[in-house]
C-alpha cells in the first residue's frame, strides 16, 4: 500500500487512542480531585497529570486555571481531545477510500459534535455524558476496525498505531504516580487503574492487595490484560512481523529490532528489578524506546530512504541564460 | 433495433509515406430498412474531410494527407436504427424465374445482371448455377438454394484469398471469406438472370456463443431482386436471410464499388494493418 496511506492509518488510530486515553485521564482525575478535596487534601493533582502528558510546557496561566477545558478543548495543545479527534479525522479524510463507511461516519460524527457548540454545552451540563461519548466512540471505533475493515496491511498499520499509543498512554498514566511528589494514596492507585480500565481485572488478580508494586506489575507485565505494556508491545511485535513477513524472533528492520528488544526486556525482567532502578526512570526509558520504535516505523515504511538512495536521480533541468 | 458500430482501421508503415489520397465508404445508408441516426468518420493524422455521393448512391468520405506520416488511423462510429425487413413465415415465393425478363432492362437491375470487375458470367459458372437450381422455377427459392449451396459446400477460411480474389477463383477453390462467398453467390445468381448486388456492412451477432461468422470485421453479403417485392438480402457466410441484425454500408456491382477503405500513397506497403469492428445493441 501507499506509504503515506500507511502513515495516515497509523496516525488516525494513534490519535483516536490518544483522545480516549486523555479523556479517561480527565474523567478519573476529576473524580479523584473531588474526593480528595472533600477530604481536605490540597495537593495539585492536575499538575502531575499535565506533567505526565507533557502538556505543562505549552500551558499558559489561564489554561492552568481550568485544566480540564485545556485538556479537552484547547486548540493550543496538540494532544487535547479536540485536536486529537480533528487530526484523526484529518488523517482519515486523506485515506477515506481505505476506510469502511461506518468508521468514517462514526469519526465524522464525533468530529462534527466536538466542533459544534453542543460539545461545550454537554460538557458543562453533564460532563460524564461527554466523557462517555468520547470513550464510547473510541470503543465503537475499535470494534468497527475489527469488524468492518479488511484485515490487510492497512489494518496492521492501524493496529500498530493503536498499540503504540496505548503503550504510551498506559505508561504515562502509571508515571503520574511517580510524579506526585509523595507516596501514592489508595485513591491515586485506584485512579490509575480506572484510567486504564483495569479495576476489575486487577481485583481478580490481586484481590484486595492494593499497592504501587502490584499496580505497576500489572500495568507493565500482565500477559493478557489488553492495556498492559507487555500486551501492547507483543502486539506491535507481531504486527510488524506480519507486515514484513519475517518470522518472529528475527528482524529485517530497525523497528522490528527495537520492538524485539523491548519485548525481551518485559519478558525477562520483573517489577522488582524495575523498582530498583527507579520506576520513573524505567518508564522514561521505555517511553524513549517507544518513540524510537515509532520513528523507525516511519523511516522503514514511509520515508523509504534505502530504496530511494539506490535509485538514480533524474537529470535536473538547468536553466541557462546568455548575457548580451 | 438500435445498433452502434465502431469500426477502427489502423495502418502502420515501416517508414514514412506521403501523398495519401483516400476514399472511405463507412457511413451506413438510410433507406426503408434502416435509418442512420449519426455517423462520425475521423482520421489521424488529421485531415480535412470532404463528403460526396457516388454513382451508386453511397456516401463517400474523401481526404488527403500530403505530409509525411507513418501511421494512419481511420475510425467510424455510427448509430443505426434498423427495421424488421423480412417476414420469416412468409418469404416472397411465387415469382417465377421467367418473369424476371420484365425487369432485366430496368436501369435499377441492369448493372446487377452483368459481368463486373470481380464477377464473370461464363459457361462454368452457368453450369454450376443450373445444377444448384435443380428443378426450381422460383426466384427466391433459387437464390436461397444458391446461398445454402455455398454455405454448405464452401470452406470459410481466412488468409487463403485476398481483397482481389476473383469470383471464378472462389467457385473453383470453394473457399474464402464473406467477400468471396458473396461474390460467388452473385455470380451464380447473375448466370440464372437473377439481379444480384454486393452489399457491404455490419452484422450484429445476437447468438449467445457468438458463433456467427464475420461479426468481428466488416461483413459482406448479397441482395437479390425479387420481381414485385424488391431487394432481399441473403448471407451465404451464415446461411441466413438478412434481417434487422444487419447494417448496410452500401451496395454495388461487387467489392470494388463499395470497398470500405481505398486509397493510394507513395511509400512502402504497410507493416501492419489492424481492423476491428464492434457492433453493440443499444436498446437492450
Amino acid at each position: 500500500m501507499l506509504s503515506r496511506v500507511a502513515d495516515n492509518l497509523y496516525w488516525m488510530n494513534r490519535y483516536v487512542e490518544r483522545a480516549e486515553g486523555v479523556t479517561r485521564l480527565v474523567e478519573v482525575k476529576r473524580d479523584t480531585n473531588l474526593e480528595a478535596e472533600a477530604k481536605g487534601d490540597k495537593r495539585d493533582y492536575w499538575r502531575s497529570a499535565l506533567q505526565a502528558m507533557c502538556a505543562s510546557e505549552g500551558a499558559q496561566e489561564e489554561d492552568l486555571n481550568d485544566p480540564e477545558s485545556f485538556i479537552l478543548f484547547s486548540k493550543r495543545w496538540s494532544s487535547s481531545v479536540i485536536n486529537s479527534i480533528n487530526q484523526a479525522r484529518e488523517n482519515a479524510r486523506m485515506v477515506r477510500d481505505q476506510l469502511s463507511e461506518e468508521i468514517w461516519v462514526e469519526l465524522n460524527n464525533l468530529y462534527l459534535f466536538l466542533n459544534s457548540p453542543d460539545a461545550q454545552q454537554t460538557y458543562l451540563q453533564d460532563s460524564s455524558k461527554f466523557f462517555r461519548r468520547v470513550i464510547r466512540f473510541s470503543l465503537v471505533f475499535q470494534g468497527l476496525s475489527d469488524a468492518t475493515v479488511h484485515q490487510d496491511e492497512g489494518w496492521l498499520f492501524m493496529s500498530l498505531g493503536k498499540y503504540l499509543e496505548r503503550a504510551d498512554q498506559t505508561s504515562r498514566a502509571l508515571d503520574t504516580l511517580t510524579l506526585l511528589g509523595n507516596e501514592p494514596t489508595r485513591l491515586d492507585l485506584i485512579g490509575v487503574l480506572r484510567i486504564c480500565s483495569a479495576q476489575s481485572a486487577y481485583r481478580k488478580r490481586y484481590r484486595g492487595d492494593l499497592n504501587l508494586r502490584n499496580v505497576a506489575d500489572f500495568l507493565l507485565f500482565s500477559q493478557d490484560f489488553p492495556r498492559s505494556l507487555r500486551f501492547a508491545i507483543r502486539r506491535i511485535d507481531s504486527n510488524l512481523h506480519d507486515i514484513s513477513g519475517v518470522p518472529a524472533g528475527n528482524f529485517s528492520n530497525e523497528a522490528e529490532r527495537l520492538t524485539g528488544s523491548v519485548l525481551a526486556q518485559l519478558n525477562f525482567s520483573g517489577i522488582d528489578a524495575m523498582l530498583e532502578t527507579g520506576l520513573h526512570e524505567s518508564i522514561d526509558d521505555l517511553q524513549k524506546k517507544l518513540i524510537e520504535v515509532g520513528q523507525s516505523i516511519f523511516e522503514t515504511y514511509v520515508l523509504l530512504p534505502f530504496e530511494i538512495k539506490n535509485a538514480s536521480v533524474p537529470p535536473v533541468v538547468q536553466s541557462q541564460m546568455q548575457q548580451q | 433495433m438500435r445498433l452502434y458500430v465502431l469500426h477502427k482501421t489502423y495502418y502502420r508503415y515501416p517508414s514514412p509515406v506521403r501523398e495519401s489520397f483516400n476514399e472511405l465508404r463507412l457511413q451506413p445508408l438510410s433507406n426503408d430498412w434502416q435509418h442512420c441516426e449519426s455517423c462520425f468518420v475521423s482520421v489521424l493524422p488529421t485531415a480535412q474531410m470532404r463528403q460526396y455521393l457516388d454513382l451508386n448512391g453511397n456516401l463517400v468520405h474523401h481526404f488527403e494527407i500530403p505530409y509525411e506520416h507513418s501511421k494512419l488511423i481511420i475510425e467510424s462510429r455510427s448509430t443505426i436504427l434498423t427495421q424488421k425487413r423480412v417476414d420469416f413465415d412468409n418469404f416472397p415465393y411465387g415469382v417465377s424465374l421467367q418473369s424476371l425478363r420484365e425487369v432485366e432492362g430496368q436501369p435499377e437491375c441492369r448493372p446487377y445482371l452483368q459481368t463486373s470487375q470481380f464477377i464473370d458470367i461464363n459457361p462454368e459458372a452457368w453450369r454450376m448455377a443450373v445444377d444448384v437450381r435443380a428443378d426450381s422455377q422460383d426466384v427466391f427459392q433459387t437464390a436461397y438454394q444458391i446461398m445454402e449451396f455455398i454455405y454448405l459446400n464452401y470452406e470459410y477460411c481466412v488468409s487463403t484469398t485476398t481483397v482481389e480474389t476473383h469470383a471464378n477463383e472462389v467457385l473453383q477453390s470453394k473457399r474464402g471469406v464473406c467477400q468471396d462467398f458473396a461474390h460467388a453467390a452473385i455470380a451464380l445468381c447473375r448466370c440464372l438472370g437473377i439481379p444480384a448486388r454486393y452489399v457491404s456492412g455490419y452484422f450484429y451477432d445476437a447468438t449467445r456463443d457468438q458463433s456467427m461468422r464475420g461479426a468481428g470485421a466488416s461483413h459482406a453479403w448479397l441482395e437479390v431482386m425479387v420481381n414485385g417485392y424488391g431487394w432481399f438480402g441473403l448471407d451465404p457466410t451464415n446461411n441466413r436471410v438478412v434481417d434487422e441484425n444487419y447494417v448496410i454500408l452500401g451496395s454495388g456491382r461487387d467489392y470494388t464499388d463499395v470497398a470500405p477503405v481505398t486509397g493510394t500513397y507513395f511509400g512502402p506497403s504497410p507493416e501492419s494493418l489492424q481492423v476491428s469492428v464492434e457492433v453493440k445493441r443499444l436498446d437492450d
Binding site: M1, L2, N108, I243, S312 | S42, R50, R77
Partner: protein, 481 residues
C-alpha cells in the same frame, strides 16, 4: 389528495423544463414525478430534504470553500426535484457530444502536429498559440492512443425555445461526476417507487467506464496496468470527488509526494517499496504537474513527471495542453472544427460569440455592453464575468477598459435566458435557472453516462450555477425509450 405546491408556480418568459415554453401543462415526461410531488404533505417533503442533506453531510459529500476558516467544508446544496430528459432528446444531445469530443480531440492532435486547420486558415494560428494553455512542449509528441481529452465535461444550456446550446467545454480537469453518482443514490432512496416506475437509465457504470478508459492508455499492456489518481491533496475543493472516484475504481489516490520519477519512469512509494505507475488520472492542472517544467515552486507535482510522460513511460489523463480548447476564443471556432475534420455540420449549436480580438466584433461589443455577457477567455467557475443587463455603468466602464487593454482575453455573448426548473426555495417551489454538465469519456470508444450533473442557480434570478457562486445541483433522469 393534492397539495398546493404548484398552484402559484410561474414560468415567466423562460423555457421551463417541466412546463415547456407555454407554461400551462406539464410535459409528458414530468407527469409521474409531478404527481408524486403533489401527493406529498409539505412536512414530508421537508423531511425528505432534511434526510438528503444529513446524508450528504454524514457521508462527507462536501466541497471546500476557499478563504473560509471555520466551515471549510460545505455540502453542495441538493434539490429534490429531478430534472427529467426524455430518451429522444437525450439521444440527440449524446450524438452532438460525441461529435464534439471527436472534433476537439482531432483539433488538439492537429494543433500539436501539422497544424492543418491553421494552415487552411480555418482557425487563426495566433488564436491557438496565444492561448494561455497552449503547451509548446507538446509539439510533435504523440500522446498515448492519440487521445488528448479522456474526460470532458461539456456545459449545456437551453434557450427560451428549449434548444440545447453548448456553453463551454471543460477539457482539463472537469469535476462533478461524484455528485452525479451520489445524487442518484440519494434520489433512489427518496423516491424509490417513482424512480422505478419511470424507468430511469442508470449512471452507475461511470467509475468502471472511467477505469477502462484509463487502463486503455497504459504503456504496459502486457500486464494489469497500475493506475493512480493524482490529487492536489485534502484541501482541494474537489477532494471528496477524488477519493470517491478512486475508491469506486479501486485505485490508489496519490499526492505528488507519493510519486517519484526516476530515470524516466514514475513510481509510487509503498510500504513494500517503489511500484511503477502506468497511468495517472491527474486532477491537477498542467502548470502544477512538474516543477521542473512548469511552476517552479509547485509542491503539488512530481519532479521529472514530464520527462517520463514525453518518453512514453507513463500516460496522463487528460493529456497536457488540452486547455487550448477550454479557451473561450477557441470555443468560437468549434463548429468550424467539426466541419473541417468530420465533414459535417454540428449537431449541437452553441452560443454566438463575439471575439474582442477581432476589430469589428470589438466595436460591436463596446457599443452594446449592456446587452451582452462579457467573459474572460480563460477563467472558469463563474469568475471574471460581466452580465451586461445586471451591471452598473462603472462596471461596464471597467470592462471596456480591460477589453481595450487586452482584447485577446475577452469574448462576449448575447444574454441567453437559461431554462428554468421548479426548485424548492424558501417560499415554496419556484423556477430557477439550470444548466447540464454531461461527462464524456474517451477511451477505446466514447462513452457518455446518460444525463449528467444538472446545476441550478439557487439565487433568485441568478444565471450563475457554479458551486462556488451559490449554485446547487439536481439529479438528472434520462428515461428509457
Amino acid at each position: 389528495m393534492q397539495n398546493e405546491l404548484f398552484t402559484s408556480y410561474e414560468t415567466d418568459v423562460f423555457f421551463d423544463e417541466m412546463f415547456g415554453s407555454d407554461g400551462i401543462a406539464p410535459l409528458d415526461h414530468y407527469r409521474s414525478i409531478l404527481n408524486r410531488l403533489k401527493s406529498l404533505e409539505p412536512t414530508q417533503i421537508e423531511e425528505k430534504q432534511k434526510q438528503a442533506d444529513s446524508s450528504f453531510l454524514e457521508h462527507g459529500v462536501t466541497f471546500t470553500v476557499y478563504g473560509d476558516d471555520e466551515g471549510t467544508e460545505r455540502i453542495f446544496p441538493f434539490d429534490l426535484i429531478p430534472r427529467v430528459i426524455p430518451d429522444k432528446e437525450w439521444q440527440k444531445v449524446e450524438q452532438g457530444l460525441r461529435q464534439r469530443i471527436l472534433a476537439l480531440n482531432l483539433f488538439l492532435n492537429d494543433v500539436y502536429h501539422d497544424g492543418k486547420i491553421m494552415a487552411e486558415g480555418v482557425v487563426p494560428e495566433e488564436v491557438v498559440k496565444s492561448s494561455a494553455h497552449y503547451r509548446q512542449e507538446m509539439v510533435g509528441f504523440d500522446v498515448p492512443r492519440d487521445i488528448f481529452v479522456h474526460i470532458c465535461g461539456t456545459d449545456l444550456i437551453r434557450d427560451e425555445t428549449g434548444r440545447y446550446l453548448v456553453l463551454e467545454d471543460n477539457a482539463r480537469c472537469p469535476s462533478g461526476a461524484s455528485y452525479l453518482l451520489e445524487n442518484r443514490e440519494i434520489m433512489k432512496k427518496t423516491f424509490p417507487g417513482t424512480y422505478q416506475a419511470m424507468s430511469v437509465r442508470s449512471v452507475e457504470a461511470y467509475p468502471e467506464l472511467l477505469l477502462r478508459s484509463l487502463e486503455f492508455l497504459s504503456p504496459r499492456q502486457s500486464q494489469k496496468p497500475v493506475c493512480v489518481l493524482l490529487t492536489p491533496g485534502v484541501y482541494n475543493s474537489a477532494y471528496f470527488e477524488h477519493t470517491f472516484l478512486a475508491r469506486q475504481m479501486g485505485i490508489e489516490i496519490v499526492e505528488g509526494k507519493d510519486l517519484i520519477a526516476i530515470d524516466g519512469h514514475v513510481y509510487m512509494r509503498t510500504t513494500h517499496g517503489l511500484v511503477q505507475v502506468d497511468v495517472i488520472y491527474r486532477r491537477l492542472d498542467d502548470a502544477f504537474l512538474d516543477p521542473l517544467f512548469f511552476e517552479e515552486d509547485s509542491l503539488l507535482g512530481v519532479s521529472g513527471l514530464m520527462d517520463a510522460y514525453l518518453k512514453g513511460n507513463v500516460a496522463l489523463a487528460n493529456g497536457i495542453g488540452t486547455g487550448v480548447v477550454d479557451d473561450k476564443v477557441t470555443y468560437a471556432y468549434v463548429p468550424e472544427m467539426i466541419r473541417f475534420y468530420l465533414g459535417q455540420d454540428p449537431i449541437l449549436e452553441q452560443v454566438p460569440t463575439y471575439l474582442c480580438w477581432n476589430d469589428q466584433d470589438r466595436d460591436y461589443v463596446l457599443n452594446n455592453l449592456s446587452e451582452l455577457v462579457v467573459k474572460s477567455a480563460n477563467e472558469s467557475g463563474g469568475y471574471g464575468m460581466l452580465v451586461g443587463s445586471a451591471s452598473t455603468k462603472k462596471e461596464r466602464e471597467e470592462f471596456a477598459q480591460m477589453i481595450q487593454a487586452s482584447p485577446r482575453d475577452y469574448i462576449a455573448q448575447p444574454i441567453i435566458s437559461l431554462s428554468r426548473h421548479p426548485t424548492f426555495c424558501e417560499n415554496g417551489i419556484e423556477g430557477r435557472h439550470v444548466d447540464l454538465r454531461p461527462f464524456i469519456l474517451y477511451g477505446e470508444d466514447i462513452e457518455i453516462v446518460p444525463g449528467g450533473l444538472t446545476r441550478v442557480a439557487l439565487k433568485k434570478g441568478s444565471l450563475v450555477v457554479n458551486s462556488s457562486q451559490g449554485g446547487g445541483s439536481k439529479d438528472t433522469w434520462v428515461l428509457k425509450d
